[in-house]
Symmetry: C2
Subunit: 356 residues, 2 copies
């Protein structure tokens, strides 16, 4: 017997059908090859294969840029989805078409790559708490820089690890994209945060975590600043949601102690997943509020502009980890409805056992 | 240089970045094996591997059910996401939890499989117009049956073809799922149809197709009843949108002539794709309106119930074809924002040339 669950943060419905996990699958999942071969552009010695670095960590201060001696490098994406620029000087070429049917705008934004370890075979799970902390600080600080650029409405740090997660290079890396429009899932969440506050006066995610701590069976681990959960309506098997107990809207508001506490629960959660599944393809996405419009502008999204939406009150930043151990099929990509064959309570129980 | 485009039907933003298509990819796409081997449960002779058939086409009328002599079989999914049943007798087991944070309901619904050809190596593109017509009539007629079942709010016919499209079996098949809640993308569209009608008095998709016919460069093919387009804000490279010129809300309202005309543009579009890409993994999804609530009930979705939404006025049924030639990464699954490296005008031009 299956049940339907709705994600309180997005409104999306998920079918929980454990018996679907028993069905035969003629197609195996693709794995990441831990052997770098000779051509990996992100391995040490191949620094000239990337665009010149924005910053590097671990190199002695008198060493030249783009040399081999580093623990982490940040570079502009060589094939950027969006580029920094002047909005007004690069209007969309399609502006002569009726905007009712053909809305468009120029691709102003940012796209950076964080090569967070020289070790080709590593990953977030093997980085350890000190490596994770160094990475999270860089993500926070680069997000801060990007959020001050003109025309940026949203900053999205994310990790594509392994082929099933949409990575095109095997070497461990993260990315940050800054967009000039708001992603629809972020607006979905912001609207639900605002609606909840209008009805109750509280924060949806603060209250949800309190309810989860009380229920207990979806909690993977927690400390005094963070809780890691298998979310109620997980779209992906073994999905995880990491929430700070302090109510803040942005990653950029986290202090070093917040990030150190995050590393503790993040490391525990990822070690649990690795213990069960080895080196699975996964996405990690950090979700903050839409950036506060400057110069009295509006958000530019009708759903938010019609609300009395306040980023600092109506968003609570969080991390989402989506292991890619099944593939999104037509029902999922066509309708937004999802089928999940791993019950979150069972995932949390296993992750609690294995993560220690 | 990239541009951003917004899908007028859903509000989702897509980054069009042709230069991203040049980036190296260490991970090849998985292919479907056209050799059935000995174990395919959907091949003739293995009828006992499926659940007993609901109907078969092509078998002589005096032959027993579940024999080998068929052109098409419809069977209940052996591993169903949802099952028909009595809503009130199977309340969700989680009902003691606060519904604000843990909304749920029982998994009442339908899940059928249409094995649309005995030929393991075939696919929609090789079926020909007569085979496609037979399939579409079965999808329409089964949708009609499912839409009358109690508790069903939405009927979703879809195809998962090939491993990258989430298929778990290689043998060609389609599925129909009937759900007791509305998919979020369907609600997104219905709200935008209703908003457009409130502002203009017209149908968003009727008027969009007229604007596309006028612009011309995204049209793949058309006849007097159907238009096949590369949609303005395609999320997937080589995506296609097929729209009937008659304003109707449901697949179940299509007559045989409508379906025969659809087969003409569908076959042309799929042959074009096959000519360029061989046998790519793809999803096909048929989108109709939410079912009209019976007994004076409401839709059960706040966004629709707050509107003066009318299914027959505020939806226009259509087909979506999503080739899976790139993988959805963290940015896509986490934010709903998409990056597409194949410009729709270029896709339409190639498909026009190759489809004939």
């Amino acid at each position: 017997m299956s049940t339907l669950r709705q994600d309180p943060l997005t409104g999306r419905w998920v079918i929980m059908a454990a018996s679907r996990g028993d069905r035969p699958n003629e197609f195996r999942l693709m794995q990441r090859d831990p052997d770098p071969g000779t051509h990996c552009p992100f391995c040490p010695g191949h620094e000239s294969s990337t665009t010149p670095e924005i910053l590097a960590i671990g190199r002695s201060s008198d060493a030249p840029a783009n040399g081999t001696d580093w623990r982490m490098r940040v570079v502009p994406n060589r094939y950027p989805a969006l580029r920094p620029g002047n909005e007004s000087s690069s209007d969309a070429p399609e502006s002569e078409l009726p905007p009712e049917f053909f809305p468009s705008r120029s691709g102003v934004g940012s796209h950076e790559v964080i090569i967070y370890t020289p070790d080709h075979a590593a990953g977030l799970a093997s980085l350890g708490e000190s490596g994770l902390l160094e990475l999270l600080k860089v993500l926070r600080d680069r997000s801060e820089v990007l959020s001050r650029r003109p025309g940026h409405k949203y900053i999205s740090p994310f990790c594509n690890h392994g082929p099933e997660a949409g990575a095109t290079l095997a070497h461990p890396h993260m990315q940050i994209i800054g967009t000039p429009e708001l992603p629809s899932y972020v607006v979905d969440k912001a609207v639900r945060f605002a609606d909840y506050r209008a009805r109750t006066g509280g924060c949806l995610l603060c209250d949800l975590v309190a309810a989860e701590e009380k229920a207990g069976d979806r909690v993977i681990c927690s400390n005094d600043r963070w809780t890691s959960l298998a979310p109620w309506a997980s779209r992906f098997p073994w999905e995880m949601l990491l929430v700070p107990s302090g109510h803040r809207a942005y990653l950029t508001e986290a202090d070093d102690d917040d990030l150190a506490s995050l590393c503790e629960v993040l490391s525990f959660s990822l070690r649990g997943l690795a213990s069960i599944h080895g080196d699975p393809s996964l996405n990690l996405v950090i979700h903050s509020a839409p950036l506060i419009p400057t110069n009295g502008e509006v958000f530019g999204d009708k759903r938010l502009d019609d609300l009395a939406y306040s980023p600092n009150k109506d968003f609570h930043w969080h991390l989402e980890i989506m292991p890619r151990l099944s593939r999104q099929a037509g029902f999922e990509v066509g309708t937004g409805f999802t089928i999940n064959s791993v019950i979150p309570e069972e995932a949390a129980r296993r992750l609690r056992e294995e993560g220690s």
